[in-house]
Each structure stands twice: as structure tokens, then as C-alpha cells.
Amino acid sequence: MTNSLKMVKLDFFTMKSQLASYAVIVLFVLLFGFMGSSITLICINCAWFVALMSTTIFATQEKNNLNRLYGSLSLKLKDIVLGRYIFTVMSFVLSFIVAIVLFFGLALFQGNSFKLFDVFLSFGVSSLIFSAIVGMQMPVFFKMGYIKARVWIFIPFGGVIGLVVLFGVVKGLSGIIAFMRSNETILVISCLLASYIIQYLSYRVSIIAYRKRR
């Protein structure tokens, strides 16, 4: 097992007592599912929730002064950062799977029809939103630690809302949206590609930020 994967496992153990809070997703999907919301909307809301929850690991790290633990283990700085990113993305992917399974279970129960492509579309759009929020948050947390950075928690959320509004207001940009809507496969691929680029850049910035903190 590589050191980054060991770090993922350590993050899992660190968050073990708080994993129950992810059960909110179950309630959330069931509630919105019964209300007839689309799977894309539900997945976007899941992405918001998991992005918000991803700050908890930094809070736990700071509360328990886990930098000393990391310093005592066979872990390099980049293992800690990469492990944290993998853990965060895994939390999102697992939450997405839970949401999808629940949603389609509910749809079957209610006798509603659904398109399989919607799963890819939901995954693409929600992962872009998740990556945009987390990609902005993580370097700040690595640089400042949870207590100093917590005022920043909601800024990425505001940034994403701002971007959505911008796309609606600026005419040139709304053309892009219209094009994407008519080419959903391109939309999914673009979202996933953009998510990867954002996460990668964010990871590189986080390494620099965490090194400077030392």
C-alpha cells in the first residue's frame, strides 16, 4: 500500500466517529425523491453537502493536534496532501453512489421511469461543483489550518453561486450553456475534465501551501 493510501485509511479512522453524519444524505435523497426532484438536482445538493463536510477532517486534525501524529509517521508532506484529496474525492464518489442507488430504488418503488444517461450527467455536473468548492477550500485549510480558515468555508460556495449567476446574466456565456444542453455527452466529458484539472491544480497549490506552513 502506498503512503498516500495509508493516509486515506488514517483519515477514514480519524473520521470514523463522524461518519454517521453522512446518513443525512439518505434522508435527503428520500425526501427530495418523494418530492419528485430530478436526480441531477439531488446529486448537486449531495455535492454541496459533502463539500461542506470535507472541512470536518481539518477541524478534527486541528482539535486533536494531528500534525504531531503525521510528523511521527512514515509520511511525506505530499503523501498527507494527496491522501487527503483522495479521501475527499472518495467521500463524494461514495455519497454519489448511495444517492444514485437510493434514487433509483425509490423510482422503481414508485414505478417511475429513468434514463441511465442521467447518472453520467448528474455525476459530471455534481463533480464539477464539488471540485470547484473543494478545490478552493483545501489549499486554504492546508495553509492556515481549520480555525484560521473557517471564515473561508462559505466563500467557495458563494463563488460557485456567483459563477452560476454569471452564466445566466452574460449573454455570451449563456450561449455556452445552450450548446452544452444540446450536446450532453460533451457536457459530461467537459465537466469531468474540468473537475480533474481543478483538483490537480488545487492539489499542487495545497502542497506549496502546506510546505510554507512548515
Partner: protein
């Protein structure tokens, strides 16, 4: 493997308002070294630099003969660390701690961990947050021993512990190094603990290295001098370290070689505490 488990050469780290300046010392295999100095002297910074938790500005740190940054992962397989308070997640139990920590060590021995937990009488059902400070320290020790650490680094492990637990820790450390293949770097400001177990002393004061060498050398180098006001000559006043004057007399630290010339004064052997207290007051560098 080299005979020196730890070597620091002219290590420097600058912060705003504090500089750890040109720290050099060597810890040979099979010995206990006490890292002493008043609060804020730079002991924890030195330990964090050794563990690469901080990046040094200059100098070289060798652990088991290898560069501590380039060989960090390899080195930490053989290093155990104990801090002044728990480094584990509050909600973990003993079992959770083993599960979380053991994955990082190639040579983790579950049987040794179980034995240490029983020996230290650590409760299985309680969370780390419910442990006393002594128990938390013992859990860190149990983890360090379970991956067969050859170098144990302790950062103020006895602060806040009762005398019985401190005594127990010292016995554990003596037992730990008895095969001659392990070493301990023990940072503390409770110097009476060191007088019992340490072979070497490194004394840092205000970020500067004041002394590094054997315990006997340090204790043999200084004497405590006391006398009446009339015995305090100008020469003595200049040469005494951390001189305290009152209406009825004076007290300070003086070099052992100089002490013989002050026959009218009371000359006592100095404890590590006496040396630390007097030097800290004057903040003087040893020559």
C-alpha cells in the same frame, strides 16, 4: 548501521522573534540523551526539525547516518515518538489506535502491542480522551515499542505526570536501552529525571547551544558558589553565572576550576537544575 543514531550539524531555524542557532550534537547508539533548557529555549523546535515537521534553514541532520529529509520514510520506520500529550484522535480506543497506526510500520508486532497494553494496564473500552495523561503517554510508548523503534524521541513526556508514573517511565527507558541497540532523546525541564537515566546532556538556552557532552562532564564543569556580601569580589562578580545578590549574601554558578580560589566561600556541587536556572538567567553561551 552507524554508531551514531542522531547527528545535528550547525542546524539553524529562524522564526519571527526567535532563532535556533547552529545546534550541533551527537547521540551514539545505546545511550540516553537529555535535551534540556527553559521553556522557549528551542527544545521542541529541535525535535520538530529532526522529525522534518519543520524545514531547517541551514545545517544537516543525520538519523541512523542518513539525511533526515531524503530518507524520511525509511528513518521513521525505526523512530518512536512520545509527546507531552496524546497525538491520537480523542474518540479512538486502544484497538482503534493500533488499527490506525500499525499500517504505517513494516515491522509492527501485534503481540508486543498487546503485551505492552497489558503491562501498562491500559483500558480497552475507554476512549483516548478519557485516559489520564500517564495513560496517554503509555499508549504512545506502546506504539513506539510495537514497531521496534531503535530511536525513541520524547518531547516533555513527564510534564504533568505524577512522580510514580514518572518513575515508572524512567524504569521503562532504562529497560528499553539495555540491549545496547537503542537510543533515547529525552527533552524535559524536569532535570531530576535526567540525573537518574541520562548519559549525555544537550543544553539549549535562548536558541543557542550552551553545552553538549556527557552528564559527568556537565556536572563536573560547574560549582555552586555561596558567600557573604563581603566575599563577593569584582572578579567573582564577573565570572559568576546567574549571580543572585541579597542583603545577607550571594549565590551563583562558577567554573569548577575557578572555584578552588574562593576558599572563603561555600562551594557545592551543582545539580542540572542549578546549572539550567543560573545559565537561563544570564543567557550566556558556553565557551
Amino acid at each position: 548501521m552507524t554508531d551514531n543514531y542522531l547527528e545535528l550539524r550547525d542546524v539553524r531555524k529562524r522564526f519571527t522573534g526567535f532563532v535556533l542557532n547552529d545546534i550541533s550534537f551527537t547521540l551514539p547508539k545505546g545511550y540516553i540523551m537529555g535535551l534540556i533548557g527553559p521553556n522557549g529555549a528551542g527544545k521542541t523546535t529541535t525535535i520538530q526539525l529532526i522529525l522534518n515537521m519543520l524545514e531547517k534553514d541551514a545545517g544537516e541532520i543525520l538519523v541512523f547516518g542518513g539525511n533526515n529529509v531524503q530518507n524520511e520514510s525509511r528513518i521513521k520506520q525505526d523512530v518512536g515518538v512520545v509527546f507531552d500529550s496524546s497525538i491520537y484522535v480523542d474518540s479512538w480506543t486502544v484497538k482503534d489506535t493500533e488499527k490506525a497506526i500499525s499500517i504505517f510500520y513494516e515491522d509492527w508486532q501485534h503481540d508486543v502491542f498487546t503485551d505492552m497494553v497489558s503491562r501498562f494496564d491500559l483500558p480497552h473500552g475507554k476512549k483516548v480522551s478519557e485516559f489520564s495523561r500517564g495513560m496517554q503517554m503509555k499508549l504512545m510508548l506502546a506504539c513506539a515499542f510495537s514497531h521496534n523503534a531503535k530511536l525513541l524521541i520524547l518531547d516533555e513526556p513527564t510534564s504533568g505526570l505524577d512522580p510514580v508514573t514518572r518513575d515508572e517511565l524512567l524504569e521503562i527507558l532504562q529497560d528499553y536501552i539495555k540491549n545496547g541497540e537503542r537510543s533515547v532523546l529525552f527533552s524535559t525541564h524536569i532535570t531530576s529525571d535526567l540525573e537518574r537515566v541520562a548519559d549525555y546532556i544537550t543544553f539549549i538556552n535562548q536558541g543557542e547551544l550552551f553545552f553538549t557532552g556527557s552528564m559527568e562532564e556537565l556536572l563536573g564543569k560547574y560549582r555552586l558558589i555561596k558567600g557573604r556580601p563581603k566575599d563577593l569580589t569584582v572578579t567573582l562578580e564577573k565570572s559568576a553565572i546567574g549571580l543572585r545578590k541579597t542583603d545577607v549574601g550571594f549565590e551563583g554558578l562558577i567554573g569548577a576550576k575557578e572555584a578552588a580560589q574562593y576558599k572563603e566561600c561555600v562551594i557545592d556541587t551543582a545539580t542540572i537544575d542549578d546549572i539550567v536556572i543560573n545559565v537561563s538567567k544570564r543567557g550566556q553561551r558556553n565557551d
